[in-house]
Symmetry: C2
Subunit: 798 residues, 2 copies
Amino acid sequence: MANITKKVSWSSRADEAGAPGEGTPLLNGSEPRLSRQLSGGGNIFQIGRLSTVDLEEEMTSEEDSLRGRPKEIPHNEKLLSLKYESLDYDNIENQLFLEEERRMSHMGFRCLEISRWVVCGLIGFLTGLIACFIDIAVEELAGFKYQVVKENIEKFTEVGGLSISLILWAVLNSAIVMIGSVIVAFFEPIAAGSGIPQIKCYLNGVKIPRVVRLKTLMVKVGGVICSVVGGLAVGKEGPMIHSGAVVAAGVSQGRSTSLKRDFKIFEYFRRDTEKRDFVSAGAAAGVSAAFGAPVGGVLFSLEEGASFWNQMLTWRIFFASMISTFTLNFFLSIYHKNPGDLSNPGLINFGRFETDTVAYNLYEIPLFIAMGAIGGLLGALFNQLNYWLTIFRIRYVHRPCLQVMEAMLVAAVTATVSFTMIYFSNDCQPLGPEHTEEYPLQLFCADGEYNSMATAFFNTPERSVRSLFHNQPGTYNPLTLGLFTLTYFFLACWTYGLAVSAGVFIPSLLIGAAWGRLFGILLAAITSTGSIWAVPGKYALIGAAAQLGGIVRMTLSLTVIMVEATGNVTYGLPIMLVLMTAKIVGDYFVEGLYDIHIKLQSVPFLHWEAPATSHWLTAREVMSSPVTCLNRVEKVGTIVDILSNTSTNHNGFPVVMEVTASEAPPKLCGLILRSQLIVLLKHKVFVELARTRLTQRKLQLKDFRDAYPRFPPIQSIHVSQDERECMMDLTEFMNATPYTVPQETSLPRVFKLFRALGLRHLVVVDDSNQVVGLVTRKDLARYHLGKHGLEELQLAQT
Amino acid sequence: MANITKKVSWSSRADEAGAPGEGTPLLNGSEPRLSRQLSGGGNIFQIGRLSTVDLEEEMTSEEDSLRGRPKEIPHNEKLLSLKYESLDYDNIENQLFLEEERRMSHMGFRCLEISRWVVCGLIGFLTGLIACFIDIAVEELAGFKYQVVKENIEKFTEVGGLSISLILWAVLNSAIVMIGSVIVAFFEPIAAGSGIPQIKCYLNGVKIPRVVRLKTLMVKVGGVICSVVGGLAVGKEGPMIHSGAVVAAGVSQGRSTSLKRDFKIFEYFRRDTEKRDFVSAGAAAGVSAAFGAPVGGVLFSLEEGASFWNQMLTWRIFFASMISTFTLNFFLSIYHKNPGDLSNPGLINFGRFETDTVAYNLYEIPLFIAMGAIGGLLGALFNQLNYWLTIFRIRYVHRPCLQVMEAMLVAAVTATVSFTMIYFSNDCQPLGPEHTEEYPLQLFCADGEYNSMATAFFNTPERSVRSLFHNQPGTYNPLTLGLFTLTYFFLACWTYGLAVSAGVFIPSLLIGAAWGRLFGILLAAITSTGSIWAVPGKYALIGAAAQLGGIVRMTLSLTVIMVEATGNVTYGLPIMLVLMTAKIVGDYFVEGLYDIHIKLQSVPFLHWEAPATSHWLTAREVMSSPVTCLNRVEKVGTIVDILSNTSTNHNGFPVVMEVTASEAPPKLCGLILRSQLIVLLKHKVFVELARTRLTQRKLQLKDFRDAYPRFPPIQSIHVSQDERECMMDLTEFMNATPYTVPQETSLPRVFKLFRALGLRHLVVVDDSNQVVGLVTRKDLARYHLGKHGLEELQLAQT
């Protein structure tokens, strides 16, 4: 994997973009394009210097070749990849759109609003169903696996030869993980990991290719079941968030491009603005289903994704979350043969903390804060190790078969380590009267006792967390917990980033719960008398929060999620403190895990504010120029040539008024997108044809919606030589009132406008309203605050 | 008060604004102003048609005369008052500001960020302290009062002559309420009510005069103690939100204008942008202290106030909330002689609902939804009655002494009704072993029993709510609850809007809890066998949520508040459903209580989105014109005249480039505010003087900050006749890059930009960047969706 060096140069030669001999594919005409003639002929205005390019996702021919595995993966976090496009969160208010809106009655808007609620209800319902399916599948399959292994171990404990049990366990795990890894690595690599970084990016406004497709969902669901059943140190909660987002993107469009089915409903929602709103709802529904935390879900969506806060949208998100928890709850209650009991929501259930038994006091707060700091440190260590590991993986483990082998290796090692730990542990505990342990392993313990290490290792991680939270004091001995923390920490760190669908929430919680409980036990040993210290479960909870906070660095939403998942509001305050401490301590060393992975993908992620010291910069310095502008009535050939020019793959073109006299410079009058031009070319909306074919149906918004979101590449559109001479009138289709800023606007001001409105293109004009540049996401994401002040990232054509 | 009829006319005469003889006060020159000369002389550009005026709050001379009681109160919700100004949430990026920002190092920004956190911590701490003070004061005083009355009643129960007890009770209540009402009515009328509508407006971006002053806070705190102790049907929770906001506005400025103390700290925060952010934190801290709901507080601030969601800001808000709950908790734990126990947060404590005893089941959901609908209906009735009552009050009860008398009357009636109800009630209940009742009244009951009606009436409302939630089944008989609901409903409705500081949360909860419990009891009676129906406390909770939701129509934040206040996450789902149902049902009839009061105040409140069917309108139709523009270098006399013109009291002036040749029209080059011009005039920043006094200190940002927020009126600035001939160079001081939109921009698009960025002035330009109009808050708030489609409100100069 060669490091990406093809940097876009910042030359000042005005003619560079149009220089001949660049090998532009000319599918639509045999005559070689004379770019000098074009740029000199007054048809295209090349204003200023050079340009950031802005690649289209839907370049399907290119895309397909990259499908299996992109050949060049950037692994330098000082780069910004050009392959990521922005979502268009701003409505394209062209004449067609305005006409449609004006035709709509008040009743029409109300129906639309109702259908938004219906869609959100559906999203919640389906997300809940998927969560339910994953949960039941994992429960059944893992139950079966553990039963088989347990019987085998019991058999061989008596007769000797436990190594056979070990091999059985390791092979079983590897085989299951192999299935999960193969579907991910070979069929849909984007389904790897928890999906949270991808959804974060999507909600931030970056279009990540293939992230919300049906195929991704199916691979994700299959993959997560395999990796959890396969005994990896993973959770099934992160992938739920991704699944919810995919469900939302699918349901809201009323069709599936993969299945080639169009239900002809929700056509109004076929644009980025609406779709992104629904994806927020889907992500929230996913969180809600995963943790039984509807409010936490809403806050997650807002914390990660919102730019402009809209009350109605938030309510809809809330509704989706609610329905999702509700659905999951309902079906699980049937599965657990207790139909109708809705009191135990969520995929993970930490069990209730009753205040009476586990109260906390003021003098415990410093202890909690200390635990937060430990969590921050351990989290930073985790992230740093995983960062190095990811760099290593990008360099050396990029082929699918290697990835599958690594996953299998990790599965086998996990099983082996677990087995060894259990084997050498002599921590025997009496079986409680309620038999709360699902698969108690007796091993070498006396009758009526079980191996305590096995409750941590020989179990799904969710159950282990619950045991650590709620088992009676004295259930674990400190050595067991210490060893478990140590091994699980490295296993989890190794596991995250494998080519399997898997979340990092549960492993983090488990590590934290283990050392937290250890902390509690040690504390109780030191202060032998006090009864308040005697509840190690409380410290397990705090430790879990600290560790998770140290790794993912969320605060607000995570607090609420933890509170909702434990069903106890009283612990809100200490959890908040712990999460904040963990974040502050962790941020001192290294970024959060998701942010690290986002940076390693070179995604142009926009933060909440412009870097603090960026008041020096103005729009003039930041913008891309020259900008390729189009005339209001433009020659078809010119448009085709511009769109075909792969070296400057712009997606938005300012439209300017025709030049009438040479001294009057052209003024901005609109903005048109590549996708719109493609649709216009496809439908041959040419002025000349309109004259001859008067009866021809007028192009409608529906045509644009039908093409959304996979617009065909320009290469697939045939334009004859005659047609090249025709003219296209863009007046009706361009956004006549694009947002503009003057050249002197400071970067923070540009940033604020861009971020708050979720723009994709922001036109920079001079004081006579002439186009001088264009600001896109990459121009803004380029600047970031490094250790030595403001740094500028390079753009890479990956 | 006479209905306001002075409507701003929509004339098309371009010279109207400058017509002579309008009696403009000319304090600064003896020569009568020749406005024709001005408007014709090319100095001021009057472009287009007419204008919305935009009054300055800080017109102190006028303001003082209006102080005690504005003489004309608009009571028509079809008007928009011109007396409310916008906050400037957009930074004024002039050269001074940019220079300061550029001088600041990375370290400087970090310090600033830390001081923001410190301020938020202080806000939380002080808000918690105030809540603690109110709580303890109410507890002590109410305890004393009830003790006195109780002893008196016990004395006279035996000897007869209970009417003396009644009189004692009524007089005691009236006297206490009188104190509270006098300070509100005579000293600070803005402190009346819960303050939530005012804070909603402030967070929405409307500057409500005197709402965040120290005096308001003191009156509010004193007033709320009096009204709760005085036995009115009120709560102390709403006022906490207002108190938190005042604390925030005060602390963040590092000085008190009322006390004339300037601590010379936090000077950077002396502008609307920062202040509004801190006020959000204060409001959240208030909610957090009131209900022990830090997350609910954050969501309240966001639901009511946020426009642009900023992660760092949200975290700071969260921190303030957290500290606030924590402080309150800590001091209350000391007061309750249980120091260090932090498990019972909040002013109101609903008591924990334990899941084991009060589980709910799927088939109860329809019942809950039905209760939500009942809550919505009753809430709508409450709001409608209160609306009529408010109209009546505006017309006939507007003099302070009348208001005090009304408050006293309500207090006396409340006592009388309570007494009568208790007197005629024969619902005796045995005293429990734990004596959970604070002031059990035996009255005519047998020994060892107490009057059940008295637990509802003879108690602070908070305690009554808790009793209704948690008392054992059978504690209340249905007749008691029915009568109580009925009387308390009307009492609470009558009480809201009195000239006392008082919240509506607790009365709403109490009404709802009463009928909810009644509902539960009836249900248990019908389905005699099932044990799950036998918990009326559960229905009391749902009823309380339904009633509160029906009145105030909050959903997301209220759900979280209820969940946090009851300490039980399990009830999140039914509470959400109930609140949504209540909102949908209630909205069908009438708006929420706070919105009604905001509308009656004619506040230009901006909703989340433009009205649905407003795509017809463009910026051209919406904007105010002609706009008074200034030259970049402008004559002092002209500026003074413009600022002194009371008929068109603009606050923002587009600055245009000088006209050099007659054919080139002037282009927009900046925007300057009235407040900035006033400071410039006050410091005599004239071009001529700068030449003569070269050593003079350059005007700095500090001078503007010192003047913030109470800029002197133009009348207080003396400009001599010679000085009138001087010139002022505005280049350095104007915002050189104001946001602009083209004339054709649709209203929803203008609205989105305006709302998302919290603008105060939005310049409308034509395609050559010439000013054609100005959009302010009132221009946007004017349009709303009525029963018959889009309606336009009139502007009133009140």
